[in-house]
Symmetry: C2
Subunit: 214 residues, 2 copies
């Protein structure tokens, strides 16, 4: 019996979706995607409990992106949309920390996003949330508060591509495995974070987590 | 004692370098990079022994890229160039299979390279080569032969960024761990592969491996 509370140790990849909330795509001046825009974060990006986010060398514009995460329960290839719940072990709330300056440079050059997305400490996550604690993951509210000021708050029902669509799309190409994490995109309100900032991120009424920027 | 012959099961990431041979950068019409261009392949990309490469859905231009791989021996952050050998468990020869049409679309849109690089079976690898079997990894010859016709052949001494430079650069940002694989880029000669093709790839006098395209 797998203990999914240890998903950070069990999983081997973090599969992420970019521009999955219309208001966030617009705030960064990006087009609304016609198909899911997928990228990886390395599992070495997870922040160990109680540790801070460390700004990567040379980054001058580090952003937080609060996201709903889906922890995969079993090997998954060619998931059928109506079977998606069978592949979910539970959920987390996460920050997809993004070196926006590195990402802008990569986008301009048609280069990959590794440096922008997979630096150490780029993935703070909450504790594991049992699947039974969230009746409908498309009907929860994400929020992010920095130094007491609210920056992001959105229902998940406005995702452009919902979780079944994402799981179907990704597993057409790539097998997911137990403990892998799917990050489902961020709503508007991303902003620069600075050393000393305290970031609270959560799902209203369900879980909250804190992390400090070093 | 870790058995690095099982690096495919132990490792949690494949860190790759693009455009690390001048002749290959030029053949694809790309600029010579001023710093290493890093991306990830998921470990779910490894091809199981004896299994074929499966062209991902919709891909009409799948390319092979023969590359020298470095298997990491221990946790590595901020590697100093002159210490690089301490972090090497051994080597492999690999194919960084690339959906070139997906990659060209991503490059044009400033989008990440996930679909082009991390589909299932996109990383055939040879057996593990003990570190002692390669005195100097910058002084070996890579080759790739498809259906008996030679497509790629190059010494590794012409890498733009050598292995110590790559390890120093990557671990400034991202921790490497035992079993992680570094793919060091491909020389010229990449081409479209088709169903039924038999690809032989190797390091002259040291190892060879075979894989079929389904
Ligand atoms: Mg994000
Ligand atoms: Mg990428
Ligand atoms: Mg390559």
């Amino acid at each position: 019996m797998v203990n999914f509370a240890n998903f950070r140790e069990i999983g081997r990849k973090i599969v992420c979706v970019g521009r999955n909330y219309k208001d966030h795509a617009i705030e960064l001046g990006n087009a609304i995607p016609k198909k899911p825009m997928i990228f990886l974060k390395a599992t070495s990006s997870y922040v160990a409990d109680g540790k801070p986010i460390v700004i990567p060398p040379g980054c001058e514009n580090l952003h937080q992106e609060v996201e709903l995460g889906v922890v995969i329960s079993k090997e998954a290839k060619n998931i059928q949309k109506d079977q998606w719940q069978d592949y979910v072990a539970g959920y987390v709330v996460a920050l997809d920390m993004t070196a926006r300056d590195f990402q802008n440079e990569a986008k301009k050059e048609g280069a990959p996003w590794f440096l922008a997305k997979s630096f150490d400490t780029s993935c703070p996550v909450s504790n594991f949330i049992e699947k039974s604690a969230i009746a409908d993951p498309h009907n929860v509210e994400l929020y992010c508060v920095i130094n007491g000021a609210e920056k992001q708050r959105s229902k998940t029902d406005v995702m452009i591509f919902d979780i079944p669509t994402l799981l179907e799309y990704i597993t057409k190409y790539t097998t997911l495995a137990p403990g892998d994490l799917l990050l489902t995109g961020t709503p508007a309100g991303v902003c620069r974070v600075l050393p000393g900032d305290v970031i609270e991120f959560g799902i209203t009424g369900i879980i909250k987590s804190n992390v400090t920027v070093q």
